[in-house]
């Protein structure tokens, strides 16, 4: 259960001289959940700006809808369950932003509302709130919308910057998968393609990710391990595929790989806590992306790769417990002394 409890180790002693007594350590660093979460929100600003630049009002409307709905849902759930209200901690804002960034620009507002309610309600609060959820709430919300509105969520249009008022256009991944047309690396980098609002501009996402790294909130092994794994498996397919499969750089730049690598793989709550476990997590997830994209029926595999690995986290944590300092090798299968 979620706990937010008064720290009982900290109380004034009644028999003493009125000094405060507490249990060691008496020193703490200045990190806090709101501080971490607000930094992540800051890091998402470039991606949001890119989304608004390319998709104009659509992007603004969807972002606002998702953020506000997420916050309200969190508030209502916490009130209803008589839990301390922590909407100010920034985590619901992140879920709202990420969900919005994963939607196609033409997605209807009611759909965005439903997705946000599901993400926060089912994805997070039912598990007990922040820290207790198994799946990344935004990804779960997106998966729910994929199942409920399979058509709308795969209807894309070209960014407004292209000037033409196209009703719909396939994403680079879909073009690749179904028509064998590859999109140039340049367009993918700057985001001048059709796709989910926040996924198209790789550079904006990268800037935000590097900011998080600079602030010390992510370990590079997570995003780079994930992208590296996608690249390596992508390369193997490319080399062995006789032109059937896209090149590794395309894999990294297209679709949700960048956003996934810097903002979802790195979600603390739903990734392993041990260094070794984090490696396993990102490498297998990277393999899954390439396998789904190249072999599965869907053009995109980032969402499922991460959700699948989220489910495996408790197991991974158990397998990869670090060897305790001074731990002796086991003898005859039995633990010594």
């Amino acid at each position: 259960m979620a706990e937010e409890v008064k720290n009982d180790g900290f109380l004034a002693d009644k028999d003493g001289a009125g000094l405060i007594v507490s249990s060691s350590p008496h020193l703490f660093n200045t990190e806090s959940i709101p501080k971490i979460m607000h930094t992540v929100v800051m890091a998402l600003i470039p991606a949001m700006i890119a989304a608004i630049y390319y998709f104009r009002l659509d992007a603004v409307v969807l972002l606002v809808t998702c953020i506000v709905t997420s916050l309200i849902t969190e508030f209502i759930f916490q009130k209803a369950r008589k839990q301390p209200v922590t909407v100010y901690d920034g985590s619901a804002i992140i879920t709202g932003i990420l969900l919005a960034l994963m939607l196609p620009p033409s997605f209807p507002i009611y759909g965005a509302i439903i997705g946000s309610v599901f993400a926060i309600g089912v994805g997070k609060q039912i598990f007990g709130g922040l820290g207790y959820n198994i799946f990344n709430p935004a990804l779960l919300g997106r998966a729910f919308l994929q199942a409920t509105y399979p058509v709308m969520i795969t209807t894309w249009h070209e960014p407004a910057t292209k000037g033409v008022d196209v009703v719909s256009a396939a994403t680079p991944l879909a073009l690749m998968k179904f028509e064998g047309i590859s999109t140039g690396w340049g367009s993918l980098l700057i985001g001048n393609t059709s796709g989910s609002m926040g996924e198209t501009c790789a550079i904006a996402i990268l800037i935000g990710g590097l900011y998080l790294f600079y602030k010390g909130y992510i370990d590079l092994r997570m995003p780079l391990g994930y992208l590296g794994s996608i690249a390596v498996f992508g390369l193997l397919f490319w080399l062995g595929g006789d032109g059937k499969y896209p090149d590794p750089v395309f894999h990294i730049l297209a679709g949700g790989a960048m956003l996934g690598a810097w903002f979802m793989i790195t979600d603390m709550v739903t990734s392993p806590v041990t260094p070794k476990g984090q490696w396993i997590f990102v490498i297998v997830a990277g393999f899954l992306v390439v396998a789904i994209r190249n072999l599965g029926g869907l053009p995109e595999g980032v969402m499922y790769s991460i959700l699948l690995m989220n489910a495996a986290v408790p197991l991974i944590n158990r397998w990869t417990r670090p060897k305790v300092f001074g731990e002796q090798p086991k003898k005859n299968g039995k633990e010594k002394g």
């Binding site: 971490i36 901690d89 001074g326």
Partner: protein
């Protein structure tokens, strides 16, 4: 050059600048001293004096027949006022001798005639005997009787003597001043310790935030003990934890539940080495020590040479007093990471009191805590490579069996995990609960 260090750990703000350049001053001789009969880990002493007895400075006033113990001595000359259960800075109450200082008391100058014993000629047994009878214990805070620490078990081969000059706790600077001001005595103490344990390879580990200490010790070693190796270490907490220091300086790993003897090492603290030399050369028992009084709650931080048994109150007064009201103050015996908060100030400074840290409530007050966001900060910080997030929950929920399977008993309560947790979860507090519960269960099983 890459500095030696251990894996993981933290970099708290050290605030050493408050006191590390202040030369040691003698604290005023107190009107009364309170000398607890158990200041060490091990068997408590029995009082050798009673009410109204007249005692000399340095007179033994408590001892007991036991291997793991250390006698206590009067730190002043005067009259015994009472022998009573009194509050102890390490927690709880301990039997203590209260001595009223004589009106005409003049402190004895133990070193007036220079060394009265040829330390080089002493046998290991003689050294151990003197160390025990001088009441010397680990002065870095561990308070383990030194005579035991320098008695290797049968069959153990000690090749290395490692001196701990890390002083990694924030605020404290008593060892630092010891190295800067008493480098000669320190090096001679190291020499005597080598004789006692038969170690050929002497090392001293010093963090790189104390370069003046490195220089002073190097200087003294050149003249007195050229083979002493000075190892500069990264400034990182808990560099001075025995197992971490052995790992950093020697790259040897002490197995779980084992002593440094296992890897051929004996570790002693800087202050302890100085006291050992004083005991051997001048027959001076452990009756005074350097105490750092520091923190943002004290008016003038100082390093004081303090008679064992002087109350915290007197020492805080000597440093200009506390800045704010008691209600907003935390007074800690030791440093802020592992020290113990004091509910009252009439407790005495004891042999293990390396510092008195006074912090204002706003610097220490932990916020209310939240759910674990599995950020792994605690895992990345734990020098024992444990899983503090799991151990904490097991403690909170009293799942002692799992706690044991996860090696919870090897937690050294260094506090790194609680320090880094963004959810401010009191992990160490919970771990402590589990340890106590587990110990009780074991005891019940054997009873």
């Amino acid at each position: 050059m890459k500095l030696k260090t251990f894996q993981r750990g933290i970099h708290p703000a050290y605030h050493k600048e408050l006191s590390n350049n202040s030369a040691v001053e003698r604290a005023a001789i107190p009107k009364t001293v309170v000398i607890p009969l158990r200041q060490h880990i091990g068997a408590p002493c029995e009082p050798l004096v009673k009410r109204s007895d007249i005692v000399e400075e340095g007179q033994k006033i408590g001892d007991v027949q036991s291997f793991v113990t250390a006698p206590v001595h009067s730190s002043v000359a005067g009259k015994v006022k009472s022998v009573d259960m009194l509050p102890f800075p390490g927690g709880g109450k301990v039997q203590a001798v209260v001595i009223e200082t004589a009106e005409d008391y003049v402190p004895k100058d133990w070193e007036a005639e220079g060394p009265i014993v040829d330390v080089d000629a002493l046998t290991p047994e003689e050294i151990r005997y003197t160390v025990r009878s001088a009441g010397i214990i680990g002065m870095g805070g561990a308070a383990f009787p030194t005579s035991v620490k320098i008695s290797p078990p049968k069959g153990a081969v000690v090749d290395t003597l490692l001196i701990n000059g890390c002083e990694c706790e924030p605020y404290l600077s008593s060892d630092h001043r010891q190295m800067v001001e008493n480098a000669d005595k320190l090096v001679l103490g190291i020499k005597a310790l080598m004789q006692a344990v038969g170690a050929k390879n002497p090392l001293i580990g010093i963090e790189d935030n104390k370069m003046d200490a490195v220089k002073a010790v190097r200087e003294a070693a050149k003249r007195l003990l050229p083979e002493l190796k000075i190892v500069e270490l990264e400034t990182k907490y808990p560099q001075g934890a025995e197992k971490m220091l052995i790992k950093a300086a020697l790259d040897r790993t002490v197995p779980i539940g084992k002593l440094p003897f296992e890897v051929g090492v004996v570790v002693n603290n800087v202050g302890t080495a100085v006291s050992i030399y004083e005991a051997l050369a001048f027959k001076k028992p452990l009756i005074e020590r350097i105490v750092t009084v520091s923190g943002n709650g004290i008016k003038t931080p100082k390093n004081l040479m303090v008679r064992i048994g002087t109350t915290f109150e007197a020492l805080i007064e000597e440093c200009g007093g506390l800045k704010t009201d008691h209600k907003e103050m935390v007074v800690i015996n030791g440093g802020p990471m592992m020290g113990i908060t004091q509910p009252r100030l009439d407790v005495p400074a004891v042999k293990g009191t390396s510092g008195i840290t006074c912090l204002t409530a706003d610097t220490v007050k932990p916020a209310d805590y939240f759910g674990c966001i599995r950020c792994a900060s605690c895992v990345d910080a734990c020098p024992m490579r444990l899983m503090p997030l799991k151990l904490g929950d097991m403690g909170r929920l009293s799942i002692t069996e799992e706690f044991n399977n996860f090696n919870g008993m090897s937690c050294m309560e260094c506090g790194c995990c609680s320090f880094v947790c963004p959810s401010k979860r009191p992990l160490v507090q919970w771990i402590r609960l589990a340890k106590i519960k587990l110990r009780d269960e074991e005891r019940a099983k054997h009873a």
